[in-house]
């Protein structure tokens, strides 16, 4: 049995919010264990002064001191999990500063999260899985070339994608809206195999990712079942042919959004979330429907409009839709409304998530929403950079899975 991945917890509030067990459970589910760095009161006093952030909450002081002990190597850990209460301004400042401090001064992978009493281990699982993968499976993540014939499947909340690859080339694609998870997976695989002209028996290794990864993974006997943060990072740098150096990967998904800083194809910091569907691909789907266009036409339509002409707030999908209806009723053009919807989603992601990662260029956008040119344009404007959208970006998870799965072919032989 391999040794457990040791995750140091820096936290304020989880024990009193009833979520410490959820954190422990999520870690245990991915072969990791949570521990609290052992320090003394003397360390707290000294480290607090040295760190220079004069906070009031004692438990945040403790978190700062523990972070400092980790960074300075007096306490060993494989990864760090920073957790504080949602809506606490003091804690948010500490959380951000600690994350930045650890990333800049140590090789430790970090994930930070703001919880409520409703946070469950399920919500934390993907983050913990990514954290342990980055900490312990660097060999897996080092893969840059796809070998043999492999299948990747991304069972997402909105769509299911399948990819067949052979000798570092994509030879078959399948794409479907997710209805029944297993049925959609089977159909997407059938489509990809048909396009590739490959039989199921010829597939040498299979990888799954996305929300349905465990269910589907078991169903199709996957060799690799891996969360989408690391898989998408790998897929993005592979497709963008940017396997070395830094970059940032943004994936605005159907249910949540991911922003990942990547170095040499390995994720560094990442955020994953989305408070409301107003900041997701789902809102753009609703916009397209209301404007009477296909989702594929929304981007080009938005490119012809001007977002500033329409007041739009998509923080909440309900109010966002209301803004949209109001604007149309007030005589706004469909182009302007489409542009405003794209800008609004980009702005929410920018404000809520991109502040938590240090953006490194190039910025690569992936996932289905990266095909909406208006959204990519809006994000580029906000980040003041040219955004890279690699070919097959909508299949990112499936490509990443197929690529990583090829690492299992030799093992099987």
């Amino acid at each position: 049995m391999t040794e457990k991945v040791r995750i140091a917890e820096l936290a304020c509030g989880p024990e009193y919010s009833g979520v410490q067990k959820e954190i422990n459970d999520a870690a245990a589910a991915v072969g990791a264990e949570i521990f609290f760095p052992d320090i003394s009161l003397k360390d707290v006093k000294r480290d607090l002064t040295l760190f220079g952030l004069d906070v009031r909450s004692p438990d945040l002081k403790l978190a700062i001191a523990r972070a400092k002990e980790l960074v300075e190597g007096r306490i060993e850990a494989d990864a760090v999990f920073i957790a504080t209460c949602f809506r606490c301004a003091e804690a948010a400042i500490v959380r951000n500063e600690l994350r930045r401090y650890i990333v800049e001064n140590s090789p430790l992978p970090v994930v930070s999260y703001s919880f409520t009493e409703r946070t469950t281990s399920g919500t934390l699982l993907t983050r913990m899985e990514a954290l342990t993968t980055i900490a312990r499976r660097r060999a897996l993540l080092a893969r840059e070339v796809q070998e043999g014939t492999t299948l990747g499947l991304d069972s997402g909340s909105a769509t299911t994608k399948a990819i067949v690859m052979r000798d570092n080339r994509i030879i078959g694609k399948g794409w479907l809206p997710t209805t029944e998870v297993l049925k959609s997976a089977d159909e997407a695989i059938a489509l990809a195999l048909a396009e590739a002209g490959v039989k199921r028996e010829e597939i040498q290794a299979v990888g799954t990712t996305g929300y349905g990864r465990y269910l589907v993974g078991e169903h199709i006997h996957a060799d690799l079942i891996q969360e989408e943060l690391t898989v998408n990072s790998k897929g993005a740098v592979y497709l963008a042919d940017h396997q070395h150096g830094p970059c940032t990967v943004i994936d605005i998904g159907g249910m949540d959004n991911k922003a990942i800083t990547v170095h040499d194809g390995i994720p560094g910091t990442f955020t994953m979330g989305g408070i409301c569907a107003g900041a997701s691909g789902r809102f753009l789907e609703m916009t397209a429907k209301r404007l009477g266009v296909e989702i594929t036409e929304l981007g080009p339509l938005a490119m012809k409009g001007l977002a500033t002409r329409v007041p739009m707030n998509s923080y909440c999908i309900v109010f966002g839709t209301q803004s949209l209806v109001n604007a149309l009723a007030a005589g706004s053009s469909r182009e302007d409304v489409a542009a405003a919807a794209c800008h609004s989603v980009a702005e929410q992601v920018f404000e809520q998530q991109l502040q938590e990662v240090d953006i490194k260029e190039p910025v690569i956008m992936v996932g289905g929403t990266s095909l909406i040119s208006g959204l990519v344009h809006a994000m580029g404007t906000l980040l003041k950079t040219e955004i890279l959208v690699p070919p097959h970006s909508q299949h990112i998870g499936a490509v990443g899975s197929a690529l990583l799965a090829s690492g299992f072919i030799r093992e099987k032989r």
Binding site: Y16, S57, L62, C88, E117
Partner: protein
């Protein structure tokens, strides 16, 4: 014997002196003990379940962080039960139950709002201050109903 709320609620010194002088200290240990000794859903380490922050809504609104509401779920009833309070005002290094400054501000406010007898202190930094600290606590406690005598 009067019920005396102690602040910091985790204070060894206050817990000791209040009970030594014949009164009942109300501190976080009692709230934790109650939870640790009650059957229910497993929620280690403190047996504070996600239901507790909801109970905390009695003292703090829903937009207040869950950690504040969860702490208030067991500190709040003690504040309401208290007949007097002793507050150490420079308790900057008390953690865990006292680990959240926002909760502590609310606790302090609610205590003052109760209009019960309150003794305000700071930690002693010399023998001379220690002498006044201990004697003041005894005097304060003696004035409370059914006050006990020092051992």
């Amino acid at each position: 014997m009067a019920k005396v709320f102690i602040y910091p609620t985790t204070s060894l010194i206050l817990s000791d002196l209040v009970s030594r002088f014949g009164h009942e200290p109300l501190g976080s240990a009692l709230g934790i003990r109650e939870r640790i000794q009650t059957a229910g859903f497993d929620s280690p380490p403190l047996q504070v379940t996600p239901e507790e922050p909801k109970k905390g809504l009695r003292w703090a609104a829903v937009e207040v962080p869950s950690g504040v509401r969860g702490r208030m779920a067991f500190i709040g009833p003690q504040i309401e039960e208290a007949e007097a309070a002793i507050i150490i005002n420079d308790a900057d290094l008390a953690f865990g139950c006292m680990g959240c400054a926002r909760t502590n501000e609310l606790v302090m406010f609610l205590l003052r709002h109760r209009r019960i007898p309150v003794l305000d202190l700071t930690y002693p930094k010399s023998e001379e201050e220690g002498e006044i600290f201990v004697a003041a606590i005894r005097e304060f406690l003696e004035k409370l109903p059914k006050g006990g005598k020092a051992e």
